[in-house]
């Protein structure tokens, strides 16, 4: 693989590049959803695909999320690789029964006779002053569902490589795209197709005092917190990348090394992924801990409208505060 040629891309450009290249790679890959064709998607993730691949492979569907997911299940069972777009994370709820009751379970229920390798792309998380119910923390419903994988990149390189991996994967995947960083920054991304292995977390910054674990847009906030703390505390930042199945080894190795753990996410506290990660560490690395595990999450409230969003979403200050608390225990 020639990884030499790169180009500066945003997350949304990286996603677009993965979609185009996977569609070129296999005729079975099709894209469908609301406004994904002529319009190129409300966030422009599918821009240019309609012109390049035509209406037979880039399909503007009627407005019905359950039908988009349900028909994709039938298509996938027949041998296609549908990549479906939920226009906003909150609309995914209309398709929950199709994804949880059917897509996630088909392989198991049919003893491997039928599989449904559907990729569900959903703009994810808050921070863009969007309308009400456009920023729902949907991840835990799927993390708690066996049979569907959940992926959430934090940067352009991973966005392209993980999406390609999800499309080639034989199991269904929920691919969460942090909309706050769709266009927040650019990074060098290889022009050639490549995959980033799923189910593997990544150490985004090495450190020795505190482990900060996160995913999606929040990883960048954690990296900024680590930088702010760099003169007083050495922070290691773990980017989960795949939320389910989770990479326990990377989490535990880092927790054992530093002995202090902060877990940050945008979703509410109770029943959130931070609780699960804390439990994994408590079960397997408790004796390595030097301080209680700190959770930095949204409160157990509905996602507020834009005016209160900055207080709802964990920010750098709260992560810094939690890391200091772990250090001074």
């Amino acid at each position: 693989m020639n990884m030499a040629a790169t180009e500066k891309m945003t997350v949304i450009q990286a996603i677009n590049s993965a979609l185009a290249q996977e569609m070129e790679r296999s005729k079975d890959v099709i894209v469908m959803g609301e406004d994904v064709g002529v319009d190129g998607g409300v966030f422009r993730a599918t821009e240019g695909l309609y012109a390049k691949f035509g209406a037979g492979r880039v399909i503007d569907t009627p407005l019905a999320e359950s039908a988009i997911a349900g028909t994709a299940i039938g298509m996938a069972a027949y041998g296609l690789r549908p990549v479906i777009e939920m226009q906003f994370d909150g609309f995914t709820y209309f398709a929950l029964h199709q994804l949880i009751l059917h897509a996630a379970k088909m392989r198991n229920r049919s003893r491997g006779r039928l599989t449904t390798p559907v990729v569900v792309r959903a703009p994810f998380g808050g921070g863009i002053r969007a309308l009400e119910l456009h920023c729902e923390p949907i991840e835990i419903s799927f993390v708690n569902t066996a049979g569907i994988k959940v992926v959430c990149p934090s940067n352009p390189y991973d966005a392209k490589g993980l999406l390609a991996a999800a499309i080639r994967d034989p199991d269904p995947t929920l691919f969460l795209e942090p909309k706050r960083i769709y266009r927040a920054f650019k990074e060098e991304v290889p022009l050639e197709p490549y995959v980033v292995e799923m189910e593997k977390a990544k150490i985004q910054r090495e450190g020795s005092d505190v482990t900060i674990i996160s995913y999606g847009a929040m990883v960048r906030t954690c990296l900024q917190a680590a930088e702010t703390l760099s003169k007083e505390v050495s922070c290691e930042v773990v980017d989960l990348r795949t939320l389910s199945p989770i990479d326990e080894k990377t989490i535990l190795d880092s927790a054992r090394k530093t002995g202090r753990v902060v877990i940050a996410h945008e979703a509410p506290k109770t029943g959130g992924l931070a609780g699960e990660i804390a439990a994994i560490i408590a079960e397997k690395a408790m004796m390595n801990l030097q301080a209680p595990i700190q959770r930095v999450t949204a409160p157990d409230t509905p996602v507020p409208l834009a005016k209160l969003e900055e207080f709802y979403l964990p920010d750098e200050f709260r992560i810094v505060k939690a890391a200091r608390k772990a250090m001074t225990f």
């Binding site: 099709i30 028909t71 059917h102 392989r107 003893r111 006779r113």
Partner: protein, 362 residues
């Protein structure tokens, strides 16, 4: 501007065999004696198997069972009109269709005996597993028929559902998508009068369920669901249309569930015995028998042989299923993902070890 009519629709009803088994010659499908005999054989087998399952459940040898008695014509007539490569996407009352499609009786037994292996069709049988969430499966048949079309295949998918399912949102989404994308899909509604305890009249005030196709702009008709030839012809016509690229069809079959919804309810609580007795007179198996007798195909000796063969096949299947139904703990984990994640492997090993420890401690 005067008010004017912009669209008009007619809801057609088709019956070929009347209750005495006499056929309307202008509509009678061209079936060979062998084809007719095979359809009747399957109806006899399905009915005998269904009754056996009810008994097995009462004896505690099966868990919940969902009987099909009364709806054999809908299911066997429709599968008979399709090709081997066509897909079947059922709800949960499609035992007769499964049998006609080629799912082994042993496999069906395993499902109702609580074993996932019973949801696995043989490789050469294109059938989806039982679908419990009412109405959710139709979309899968739209996806299959759509994918087939995109791949340039003539293959189609038929999906089965009841009158209750037409109240679900997914039903409307399914017929709408199928219409927009002209998918190779047949929607076969078995209007059996009852969604557990709620009568068809309380599902919708629409005069027919067939007319729901109007809103989606697709072809629709109503047929006598106790008449196997009418179901056969309606399905064959729908399949021909789909294979010609003319899109989906909604077929409403007027039928009746002669038994309970499942082994967990008592129909006397919600419907009158007289109603059931009236429908009993329309029994699809009896009616087809009268037709075959009129054609000189049915004889008492043949009937006796069919009954004996069915009983023998059913007894053998039940015996096989009961002998092969020991659960393997690993089976719970093996098919969740293509490759078992490490965390799941760990959970499996832990559970196996605990089960072993528990066994040793007893």
């Amino acid at each position: 501007m005067p008010i004017k009519t912009v669209a008009e629709f007619k809801v057609m009803h088709m019956q070929i065999l009347d209750e005495t088994g006499k056929a309307d010659a202008s509509l009678e499908p061209k079936l060979t004696p062998d084809q007719l005999k095979e359809m009747y054989r399957l109806m006899v087998l399905a009915r005998a198997y269904d009754r056996k399952c009810m008994k097995l459940q009462r004896q505690g040898r099966m868990y919940t069972y969902i009987p099909v008695e009364g709806q054999e014509a809908c299911q066997i007539g429709s599968i008979a009109a399709l090709q081997k490569e066509d897909w079947m996407v059922p709800a949960f009352r499609e035992t007769a269709a499964y049998i006609a499609k080629g799912i082994p009786l042993k496999t069906l037994c395993l499902y109702w005996m609580g074993n996932e292996r019973g949801n696995s069709a043989p490789k050469d049988v294109n059938a989806f597993p039982v679908s419990i969430p009412v109405g959710s499966q139709m979309l899968h048949a739209v996806g299959i028929g759509w994918a087939a079309k995109l791949k340039g295949h003539k293959t189609l998918a038929i999906t089965y559902f009841g009158d209750g399912a037409t109240s679900e949102g997914d039903f409307y989404e399914a017929i709408n998508f199928a219409g927009v994308f002209k998918t190779n899909t047949i929607f076969l509604c078995q209007n059996n009068g009852w969604a557990i305890s709620v009568p068809r009249s309380k599902q919708t005030v629409a005069q027919t369920l067939a007319q729901k196709g109007i809103a989606a702009g697709i072809t629709f008709l109503q047929v006598d669901g106790m008449d196997v030839l009418a179901v056969y012809k309606a399905t064959l016509d729908a399949a021909d249309r789909a294979r010609r690229g003319e899109g989906p069809t909604l077929i409403e079959c007027l039928t009746y569930r002669l038994g309970p919804h499942s082994t967990s309810d008592d129909p006397s609580k919600y419907r009158k015995a007289e109603e059931t007795a009236e429908w009993q007179k329309k029994d699809p198996v009896e009616r087809f028998k009268l037709y075959l007798r009129g054609k000189g195909i049915w004889t008492e000796e043949w009937e006796a042989k069919l009954q004996a063969d069915s009983d023998a096949a059913i007894d053998a299947a039940v015996k096989d299923a009961e002998a092969d139904n020991t659960p393997n703990l690993e089976d719970m984990f093996k098919y969740v993902y293509a490759q078992m994640p490490d965390s799941l492997k760990e959970q499996m090993e832990e559970l196996k070890q605990t089960v072993e420890e528990k066994k040793n401690s007893e």
